[in-house]
C-alpha cells in the first residue's frame, strides 16, 4: 500500500515538472499583407514551436459583393465585373459567364468565335499557370523561375492586349461570340510562340521542378488524399493532383473541346505521395504542354467567318435557372443563374474553386512546419479576387 502512494507522489512530481516545461501555443498572423499568401488572405496560425497545430483562414479583405452588383446590371454589363474575380484568368471567367447566358438564350455561336474562345482560354491557362510557377518558385526561395515565367507570360499578355485592348481585364468574350476578330498575323505569332515555348518550359521544369532542393521542399508535403479532395469539393489541378481523372473539358464537354485530342494529366506520386505539393506542381506543368497541343489543333482547324452571333439588342433571359460550369485554370467555375424574365438576373451565384480550396487549409495544415504551410498555400494556387468576389 505504502509503495503505491509513493508511486503516485513520484508521478505527481513528474507531472509538476512537465507543467513547468509546458509551453503555450504561439499565435502567428500570416497576412493580410504577406507575399506568401498571394493576395490579402490572413491565416491565423497556432504553432507549437515550428509545427502548425491549427490554421484558420480569415477572408473578405477584397470582398466587393459582386453578386449584389450583378442583380442591378444588365447581362452585358456584368462581363467587366466577372473579369475582376480571377484577374489572372479573366478570359476563362468571361467565357463561363457568356456560356451560361447563351445556354439560356439559345444563341448559336459562330464557329470561328468558338475556335477563338478555345484559343484564348488555353493561352490564358498557360499564362495563369506561369504565374503560379513563378510565384511558387519565389515561395520556395528560387527567384530565377519567376523571371523566366514572366518573360513568356508577357508575350501572351501582349497578344491579348492587341486583341482586346487590355492587358489583364479584357471584356473580350461577349454574349454571342467575341468582341473582335483575330488577324492572320496574330495567329502566326501564336504558332511561333508555341514553338518557342515548349522547349523553354521543358528547360524550366528541369531547372526548377526536377531540382533536388525543390523536390525536398515539396514532395510528401501538404498531402491531400482522394477522399479529402471529394469531401472538400476540390476541383481542377488540386483534384487531379490527388490522382482523380476528372476534367470538365473531357467529362462534361463544352465549346468544341470534344473535337480536340489531349490528355488529362493526373498526379501519380512520382516523387513522394499521391496528392502532395509536387504532384500538384507537375500536373500544372503537364497541363501547359496539353494546352500547347490544343492550341496547335485550333490553329490547324480555324476557318474564316463571322465572330459574333445574333443576339437581341436588349437581352432578356427567359425565366428559369441554370447551373453551368467550366474548367478554369484554378478549377471549376460555376455560374448559377436564376432569372425571372427581366433585364437583370434575379440572382447570380458564383461557385469559385479558390473559395473551396481555401477551406482545405484547416484540413491539410495541422502537423506541417511553418515553411511547409507556405509551400502548401502556394501549391493550391488561389487568387483572392475570386475567393472574396
Amino acid at each position: 500500500m505504502s509503495t503505491h502512494t509513493e508511486d503516485t507522489n513520484q508521478d505527481k512530481i513528474i507531472l509538476g515538472d512537465q507543467e513547468i516545461l509546458k509551453s503555450d501555443l504561439l499565435t502567428l498572423n500570416m497576412g493580410p499583407q504577406h507575399p506568401a499568401t498571394h493576395g490579402v488572405l490572413r491565416v491565423e496560425i497556432k504553432t507549437d514551436s515550428e509545427i502548425v497545430v491549427e490554421a484558420i483562414p480569415h477572408l473578405g479583405y477584397l470582398h466587393r459583393c459582386f453578386e449584389k452588383h450583378a442583380e442591378n446590371l444588365d447581362y452585358r454589363g456584368i462581363i467587366p465585373f466577372v473579369d475582376r474575380m480571377d484577374y489572372l484568368a479573366a478570359m476563362s471567367m468571361e467565357w463561363g459567364y457568356a456560356l451560361t447566358v447563351e445556354k439560356m438564350l439559345g444563341t448559336e455561336v459562330p464557329k470561328r468565335a468558338e475556335y477563338i474562345r478555345i484559343l484564348i482560354a488555353e493561352l490564358q491557362r498557360i499564362a495563369s499557370h506561369l504565374v503560379y510557377f513563378g510565384t511558387y518558385g519565389i515561395d520556395m526561395g528560387a527567384f530565377t523561375a519567376f523571371l523566366y515565367c514572366f518573360q513568356d507570360r508577357e508575350q501572351i499578355l501582349r497578344l491579348f492586349e492587341e486583341m482586346s485592348g487590355a492587358r489583364m481585364l479584357y471584356n473580350y468574350v461577349w454574349i454571342g461570340g467575341v468582341w473582335n476578330d483575330v488577324t492572320d498575323d496574330q495567329l502566326k505569332r501564336i504558332s511561333a510562340f508555341c514553338d518557342t515555348f515548349e522547349p523553354e518550359l521543358k528547360k524550366y521544369d528541369t531547372l526548377v521542378g526536377q531540382n533536388k532542393i525543390f523536390i525536398e521542399r515539396t514532395a510528401n508535403v501538404g498531402i491531400l488524399t482522394r477522399e479529402q479532395a471529394f469531401d472538400y469539393g476540390a476541383t481542377g489541378p488540386v483534384l487531379r493532383g490527388s490522382g482523380v481523372n476528372w476534367d470538365l473539358r473531357k467529362n462534361r464537354t463544352y465549346g468544341l473541346y470534344d473535337k480536340f485530342e489531349f490528355n488529362v494529366p493526373v498526379g501519380s506520386g512520382e516523387k513522394g505521395t499521391v496528392g502532395d505539393c509536387w504532384d500538384r506542381y507537375y500536373v500544372r506543368i503537364q497541363e501547359m504542354f496539353e494546352s500547347v497541343k490544343i492550341i496547335r489543333q485550333v490553329l490547324a482547324g480555324i476557318e474564316a467567318g463571322p465572330v459574333m452571333g445574333k443576339v437581341p439588342k436588349i437581352i432578356k433571359v427567359p425565366a428559369g435557372e441554370i447551373y453551368m460550369r467550366t474548367e478554369c485554370p484554378r478549377g471549376e467555375l460555376g455560374y448559377h443563374l436564376i432569372s425571372d424574365g427581366g433585364k437583370t438576373p434575379y440572382r447570380l451565384k458564383v461557385k469559385s474553386s479558390c473559395f473551396t480550396h481555401v477551406s482545405l487549409l484547416p484540413a491539410i495544415a495541422p502537423g506541417l512546419m511553418i515553411a511547409d504551410l507556405v509551400a502548401t498555400i502556394g501549391s493550391i494556387d488561389i487568387v483572392l479576387g475570386e475567393v472574396d468576389r
Binding site: 427567359p318 428559369g320 460555376g334 440572382r347 461557385k351 484540413a363
Partner: protein, 209 residues
Amino acid sequence: MHNQIAEFLNKNIPACKAVVNAPVAVVGDQSITIEASTLLAVCQALKTSPEFEMNVLQVITGTDYPERIELSYILASFSRNLELILKANLPRGDKLNLPKIDSVVSVWSAANFQERETYDMIGVEFVGHPDPRRILCPYDWDGHPLRKDYVVQEKYLDMVVNPPEKNNTYDQMFGKHLKEELGDPKRVSASWKDRSAGTEAETEAKDGE
C-alpha cells in the same frame, strides 16, 4: 434522371415529399424540391446510395424571394457524372428570428464554408454548424447583403459607410450634362454610331489644315 432520384427519395424518406420542378421555359435545368426539415437525411441518403453517389457538394445558393428563402444545394457525382439541384424552402423570418435549417457539414466538409457564406449573405442559420461565423463581411457586420430589402448600415465602428464626399458624382453630372446638351437621351448611349452630325465639322477642320 430527376424522376428516378425523386422516386428513390420518396421511397426511402417518405417525409421529404420530393417534387421535380420542370424548367419554366424550355431551356434551363430541372431541380428537385424537398421539405426543409428532412434535408440532412436526404443528403445522407443521396451520398451513400450506390445508384447516385453524390460525393461532392459544389455550392449552396440562397435566393431571397418576397415570400420565402430558397436554398439550392448543387450536388454532383464525379464517379457517375451526375449533377443535381436540390431545393428547400424556408420562411423569410426577421432580424432576430432567422430561418433555421440543419447543417450538412457532417455529410460533406465542403459545406462548412458554403454555409458560412450563405449565413453571411442571405441570413439563414445552420443548426449544428461547427463554426457559425460570418466569412466575407466583418465578423461584427450588421444585416445580410443579398437580401432584397437590405440597407447598408450608416456607421460601422464609428466610420461612416459611403460618405458623401467619396460618392462619385462626376459620372452623374457628366451624364446629365450630355443629356441636356443633346436633348435626345437615346443619342447618349449610341453616340459613337451616329457620325452624321460630326462629319461636316470634321471635314472643315481637315480642309483648314
